[in-house]
């Protein structure tokens, strides 16, 4: 084998190793990024939705009338927690609720780690989907967590920590959640007679 051939072989091998190594790194990094992180407060949907039976719409007020579900304001949380478990907070117990009151006293908004992400090139409206699901099953509004929200978000009432199901990392969008993948949306649209043209979502 001539020197030239050996050199080409070496370069090819190095590129191949580099590409594989790079792919593994990116895969790991993306998985790490999309894996549920520690939230600033360990808020438990299992306690609030599962045990206390609080409706999803009570906190996520934007979901019926707007595109974005939103998260409750610190003031909304304090409306209950200025009373609920307050004695324990005063007694320096319940550290997570203490964190909440700390945010309120410092007049500081809470920055949650976003679990459900829709790429920027996709337009998604909660209002439209809630309305559709409610129309299909009017009783669904009595327990939206079970009959409406669970369609995409899973059974949140059993989740101590909100975690999007992690599947194959979507390399181009960094999306690891199959429930917010295009295939998931399209399948549901197809099954339920939803719009199938591109501009329904990509606008």
């Amino acid at each position: 084998m001539s020197f030239e051939q050996k050199l080409l072989k070496t370069i090819r091998a190095l590129i191949l190793i580099g590409a594989i190594f790079g792919a593994i790194c990116l895969w790991v990094v993306q998985w790490w990024l999309t894996h549920p992180k520690k939230q600033p407060i360990a808020f438990s949907h299992k306690i609030h939705v599962g045990q206390r039976q609080i409706s999803c719409f009570f906190c996520h007020t934007g979901v019926e009338h707007g595109d974005i579900a939103g998260v409750p304001s610190v003031q909304d949380c304090m409306q209950c927690h200025q009373v609920v478990a307050n004695e324990q907070v005063v007694a320096n117990e319940r550290p997570e609720i203490q964190k909440l009151t700390g945010y309120w006293e410092r007049k500081q908004p809470i920055e949650w780690f976003k679990v459900y992400k829709v790429p920027k090139h996709v337009h998604f409206s909660h209002k439209v989907h809630i309305a559709f699901l409610a129309k299909r099953n009017p009783d669904a509004l009595k327990d939206p967590g079970k009959f409406i929200c669970a369609q995409c978000h899973g059974d949140v009432s059993q989740m101590s920590t909100i975690a999007a199901p992690v599947g194959t990392v979507m390399l181009l969008t960094g999306n690891a959640n199959p429930n917010t993948s295009m295939g998931f949306c399209v399948d549901c649209h197809h099954a339920n007679g939803g719009p199938m043209d591109c501009t329904a979502c990509h606008r």
């Binding site: 790079g22 974005i68 003031q75 390399l171 969008t173």
Partner: protein, 731 residues
């Protein structure tokens, strides 16, 4: 190099995979923010519109502000508003950059050190008020404007403290008000029904841009040129020493010497009188057109030809402005131009944008306003123990020769109220951060013939907060009310504790108040176009309130009726001091009087005539440039008796040979990161007092022009090619 097919495919796959993986970006961390407080009607990520009143000038435009997640995003005009008809000017649009300016004060400054102790502020202000009340005349307030409920509050408290108020603004309207007092008995501002005219003669006014109704007049001008019910397009002729925006829109510009606009009106009046028009003063007709020509530099036949055209016009109109009022003979200039209207059979109409509302327990408007001349005189005599500067910047606006810095430094108690640090606040003992009009309650009461019927009506324009207030600051009116409360019953009697309560007290009926919040004003129209404001964001829990009851405007009164009626019985020439050309410092289309210099949107707004951005320039007449061999960009110096100013030359064909012109607005040295360049022409003015008003005659300085050498870069939009080095883009 020979490659086999197998190798080719291997190379392709490997490099393709490498590129694909390299192209996958790591998605950035996304946060989902729980806001601290979120009203129920507000949907995340979706817009709500709130009606309020822009307070950038006295225009009182009704605007609707788009708010998303508690952030103000955009202003739009309210289409039904009788003043602005849905339009907003650049100054109004840029006001978002005042609200979100990174240089805003976020804490009180006590001896230039940060503090958050508002209680100490209120107690200090209260003690100064009480000290002033026991030594009447020892307190001075310097304000940029007195209007509406906050203005009424300032006047009331000043009176209780025995204090005087000096209203400092560039360009002052005092000369115009004084002239109007002589003509109508009321010291108001003239109103020009431009949209109804078919032939307008403008005497240097820049009504499309400055003055007190720029947006209204811009709308009116549009109707004047292209209105639907017109049989022909209106004609606009301008007499002016310099082509400003309005003059540049004219069909003909007739250059006149600075300060002789009133003489041009005199010439026109004499020519009309010679053609048979009755009513012109006898002393005026005794002055020949040749004499007038020597003063103005305008040939007599121009007056004669224009007079003939005016006689053919069905609805002629003569327009004056604050520009005419900026000379030593400003009152006379304005009066002559209005007399021309009377000669043409045009009724002299007026409007008042700065009416003060009536406060609980208040009877009449006390006379507390003093002129700048009187204020300076008392300063120099050491009369003032306490001086409060309310949202203006006298150290920037006043000529250096007046030595405001020296005078202010000698005052025992120096307090500056401002949203931003500025040159004046650097000298103060206390700098108290105030808020922008997006965050506060207020109003503007305007009386004038704005409706279609031209009937004089009083419009109440409500200003309501559209975003949460900036932490660390308070509304000016609320600070004054708290100071009054701390000062005791003699100051706070019958006053509530907030401007919100004061404003609401004008409308005790709840359904009327709801209506006021909805449309931010009282107008003749009975309905409101809901879709414009809410789009499809109507919240089912908060449907639009039914417009049950219209509100009536509260009564108001002017603070300016103390001005003396002028007595004019002869022609008055302008006076200038120094040698050389007359320096015209003009109200910058972008920066105004300099208060917008900290807004990058306004810094980058090209000047309509020169297209210069981000710097000042010195406009020189072409004849002078030819004589001194000055080219565009050459560094020149203007030297007055009071100082010198350098800058890049802009040879201008749109300037009278006797004048040089420099825009006001640049030259700050303590106004934030965006306003730290250029030079201020007001600093080199001679402090000349205007006859009959005691205001500064802003245009009364002559300057010598000197070449310094070298070139200064001006960023312009009219010759971008020349901004590049010539070897890069050879022509």
């Amino acid at each position: 190099m020979d490659i086999s097919r197998k190798e080719f495919f291997q190379w392709s796959v490997v490099t393709g995979a490498a590129v694909a993986f390299a192209g996958c970006g790591i998605p950035p961390h996304q946060a989902l923010v729980s806001q601290l407080e979120l009203p129920e009607y507000r949907l995340p990520g979706e817009a709500k519109w709130f009606a309020t009143t822009c307070q950038e000038c006295a225009g009182g435009c009704g605007v609707s502000v788009r708010v998303i997640d508690g952030r103000a995003k955009k202003l739009e005009g309210i289409p039904q508003h009788p003043i602005n008809h849905g339009k907003v000017c650049a100054q109004g649009q840029s006001s978002l950059q005042a609200l979100y300016n990174p240089d805003r004060l976020t804490s009180i400054l006590k001896n230039q050190n940060p503090s958050q102790d508002w209680n100490e502020v209120f107690k200090t202000l209260a003690s100064q008020l009480n000290a002033a009340a026991s030594n009447k005349g020892s307190m001075l307030w310097i304000a940029d404007s007195l209007h509406g409920t906050t203005g009424a509050l300032m006047v009331l408290l000043a009176e209780r403290a025995g204090a005087k108020i000096c209203v400092l603004d560039f360009q002052s309207t005092t000369a115009v008000r004084t002239a109007m007092k002589g003509l109508t008995g009321k010291a108001e501002l003239p109103y020009y029904p431009i949209r109804e005219s078919d032939y307008v003669v403008n005497f240097g006014s820049d009504f499309l841009l400055s003055g007190d109704l720029p947006v209204h007049y811009a709308w009116s001008y549009g109707e004047f040129r292209q209105g639907k019910n017109r049989d022909h397009r209106g004609v606009l002729v301008s007499f002016a020493p310099r082509m400003n925006l309005t003059v540049s829109n004219s069909d003909q510009w007739i250059p006149v010497r600075p300060g002789t606009e009133g003489w041009a009106a005199l010439g026109l009046g004499n020519a009309l009188s010679a053609l048979g028009k009755k009513g012109w003063p006898g002393w005026a007709t005794s002055i020949s057109l040749e004499s007038i020509s020597k003063v103005t530099g305008v040939e007599p036949d121009i007056f004669e030809r224009l007079a003939k055209r005016l006689l053919l016009a069905k609805r002629p109109l003569a327009v004056a402005g604050a520009e005419n009022g900026s000379y030593s003979n400003g009152v006379w200039n304005t009066e002559m131009i209005q007399k021309l209207n009377q000669l043409l059979g045009v009724p002299v109409q007026s409007f008042e944008p700065n009416l003060l509302t009536t406060l609980p327990g208040q009877k009449g408007i006390p006379s507390v306003i003093i002129s700048i001349e009187a204020a300076v005189s008392q300063f120099q005599k050491g009369k003032f123990e306490s001086v409060w500067v309310l949202e203006t910047n006298p150290r920037y606006l006043l000529p250096k020769k007046l030595d405001f810095q020296g005078l202010f430094s000698k005052v025992k108690n120096k307090v500056v109220f401002s949203p931003f640090p500025n040159e004046t606040s650097l000298l103060a003992d206390w700098v108290i951060p105030t808020q922008t009009w997006f965050e506060t309650w207020g109003d503007r009461l305007i009386r004038g013939p704005f409706g279609d019927s031209n009937k004089v009506s009083t419009l109440y324009n409500l200003q309501q907060p559209v975003v949460a207030e900036r932490p660390g600051s308070k509304a000016l009116g609320d600070i004054l009310l708290m100071a009054a409360k701390n000062a005791g019953a003699s100051f706070s009697k019958e006053l509530p504790s907030s401007v919100h309560e004061l404003v609401k007290s004008h409308f005790p009926d709840e359904s009327v108040w709801e209506n006021m919040l909805l449309r931010a004003g009282t107008w003749d129209e009975a309905s409101l176009d809901w879709e414009l404001y809410l789009g499809d964001n109507t919240h089912p829990l908060f449907p639009p309130p039914v417009v049950k009851k219209e509100g009536k405007s509260p009564s108001g009164a002017s603070a300016w009726n103390h001005l003396d009626k002028p007595e004019i019985s002869e022609a008055v020439e302008p006076k200038f001091f120094g040698e050389g050309q007359v320096l015209i410092p003009f109200y910058s289309p972008a920066l105004g009087d300099g208060s917008s210099a900290n807004r990058p949107w306004m810094q980058e707004l090209p000047d309509p005539l020169t297209t210069v951005t981000w710097t000042h320039w010195i406009e020189l007449p072409m004849s002078l440039c030819k004589q001194m061999e000055i080219e565009r960009g050459d560094v020149v110096r203007l030297v007055s008796e009071s100082g010198a100013l350098t800058g890049p030359a802009y040879p201008s064909p749109a300037l009278h040979p006797d004048a040089v012109a420099v825009p006001v607005g640049q030259g700050h040295d303590h106004y934030g990161m965006f306003a730290d360049h250029g030079e201020n022409p007001l600093s080199i003015l001679n402090p000349v007092w205007q006859e009959g008003t005691g205001e500064l005659a802003w245009v009364s300085t002559r300057v010598k022009v000197e070449k310094v050498g070298g070139k200064a870069r001006m960023t312009t939009w009219d010759e971008r090619v020349n901004n590049y080095p010539k070897d890069l883009m050879p022509l």
